[in-house]
């Protein structure tokens, strides 16, 4: 059973009071839940949040399912999101994704067996001048080649 930390509960209370409507706090609170729930939002945590925020579960679930930055499935410790939009594709983003998937032996959007990495293809991340690029957890890594991307990820995996 998922529960937010005390700090998290305070955060939720603060966010509820921060905006003009309680509903506006759904996105920040979901971010918080995702952070405390190993990078994804589980159905139980939605029920929990619904009780905590006193908002219908359907509203929270609608928001959760609408936005792509909330993960509905467990993700690896490293969530590698490779931009697969037009500028990046022109400069080899798809080849890069294929290379990474092959190297780390995962399927796109799926978590690796050891739970360490998820590679997903995402839409434009607003860094087209430095294509191809990827986002690992919160940070951007730009001007990649398959080799350099592999090196970055390997470095981070070993650092863990």
């Amino acid at each position: 059973m998922f529960k937010l930390s005390d700090e998290g509960i305070n955060f939720v209370k603060k966010e509820l009071a921060r905006y003009e409507t309680k509903r506006s706090a759904i996105i920040p609170c979901l971010y918080r839940v995702q952070k405390e729930n190993d990078g994804w939002v589980s159905p139980e945590s939605v029920s929990y949040l619904s009780e905590l925020m006193e908002l219908p579960e359907a509203w929270i679930n609608e928001v959760l399912n609408f936005y792509t930055m909330f993960n509905k499935k467990p993700v690896g410790k490293l969530h590698v999101q490779v931009c697969n939009n037009i500028s990046c594709c022109m400069l080899g983003a798809r080849e890069l994704t294929d290379h990474l998937c092959k190297t780390f032996n995962v399927k796109p959007e799926e978590i690796s067996e050891d739970g360490k990495i998820t590679i997903s293809k995402v839409e434009c991340l607003g860094s087209c001048d430095t294509a191809p690029m990827m986002q690992i957890n919160d940070d951007y890594h730009e001007n990649l080649t398959p080799g350099s991307a592999e090196k970055i990820i390997k470095g981070m995996l070993n650092g863990n």
């Binding site: 159905p43 939605v46 029920s47 219908p56 579960e57 359907a58 509203w59 929270i60 679930n61 609608e62 399912n65 609408f66």
Partner: protein, 513 residues
Amino acid sequence: MPKITLNGKSIEVADGITIIEAYKQLDEPIAHYCWHPGLTIAGVCRLCVVEIEGNPRLQIACNTVVQDGMVVNNNSEKVKTAVKWGLDFHLINHPLDCPICDQAGECELQNQYMEFGKYDPEMAEHKVKKRKVVDLGERIVLDTERCILCSRCVRFTNEVSKTNELGIFNRGDRSEVGTFEDKPLNNKYSVNTVDICPVGALTSKDFRFRQRVWYLKDKPSICTGCSTGCSVNVYYNEEGIFRLKPRFNKDVNGYWMCDEGRDIYKHINKENRMVRGRYKKDGAWCSTLPLETAKKAGEKLRTYSADQIAVLVTGQYTNEELDVFVNYAVNKLGTKNIFHWKNNPDGWNEFDGLLLRGDKNPNSKGLQKVLQKHTVGGEWKDLVNQIDKFKAVVVAGPENLQAYPDLKEKIGTLARLECVVWATADDNIAFEGLMDFTYLIPQKTSVEKSGHFTNYNGLEQKVDVVTTLLSDSLNLEETVELLVGESVDMSQREKEDMHVMKKNYFTTERGRL
């Protein structure tokens, strides 16, 4: 009052209404799914497009307020093409499993495609597959694949029932309507979502697969589930009654009705009814025609003096019946001991804020009026207080026994009397507890008789005969006439009983070759 021209016809409409309402007022055909007069405007199906003179872009009629002098049409080629393609967009991911779908026959997608469609599908790609047959609680089954995402049901739960269970999750053509984690949709008005669903995405478990809708006829009536008296349409055929749907009535129920009210057809159907009149003699039940039972009961009843007879009456009969009944009881039977039996006196005035009321009788107001007219009437507790005084009781019992959960207990009390004459439409195991000289007289139900019901608000509403399920049963008027010894002419009775058998009932009638 703006004056506008729709498809070349000029019409004067009320201020501030939308073009689609003007179209409805004029009864001109216009395609639409998401717009529903009882809900807010979503404007998402994009089918009600119209061409407004002076505007190069097609506008949607549901979100455009009329202005004086507007010239609008929806029969130009441009609009027709847009509607055709709009329907095609709706259909490209809609499974064409109409043979299975329970909505077929009353499906808006079918109807409107027949009327406005392109008839030349060009979709060659695979359809998006979604979840089918999702169980949403006691009453609803959801098929997300068939859903056209008009959001009517979502708006209903947000705006009318205010329970917020439903939502549209995910986005793009992956959008799915549903409840969170398939939690049950068990609010008291849930089946309204089925009514407003233009396609077969939400279906009622109760009605699902029981009949094809084209086998059903419908007639207007009044729901007898509670004192609100919602206007309904009764759907029936020769096999019985299958469902009730709300009928728009701006004074009473708007577009909606509660789930409880939808169940009242069950006690009207033959399976639960008292088909033959019954009386108990020497500890054994005998059954006769209703007419005969009433005659026998009358003979027995007239052996008692007026003071020994009590009359117990429920608000489940029409004004006309009650008027005659009370009149005969007072003037012919001569008793002043008439008691009003209420289903739950404690929660009598309960109201859930939308439609449901604690008074589960359609005509309590009408009954009170009649009792006042004759300056009689008491409560159940008054009857209990003086019960030793009485030898016989005439009960104008409830038509819907389910609404009276204390039935068994009440029967236990009445069994202390020597003679019980009970007019009832339904049969119930509790009647077994009654003693000798009990007469059970089968009654007609609200769909089998015409008359008026007075709702909680004093509004008199007419009901007409919808159909006849049991032609032998009596109404309360006839019953009381027989009780006081008058005769009733049964020769004018409609003879056709409903057929219990399905379509080919001929086989049983054929016999041996």
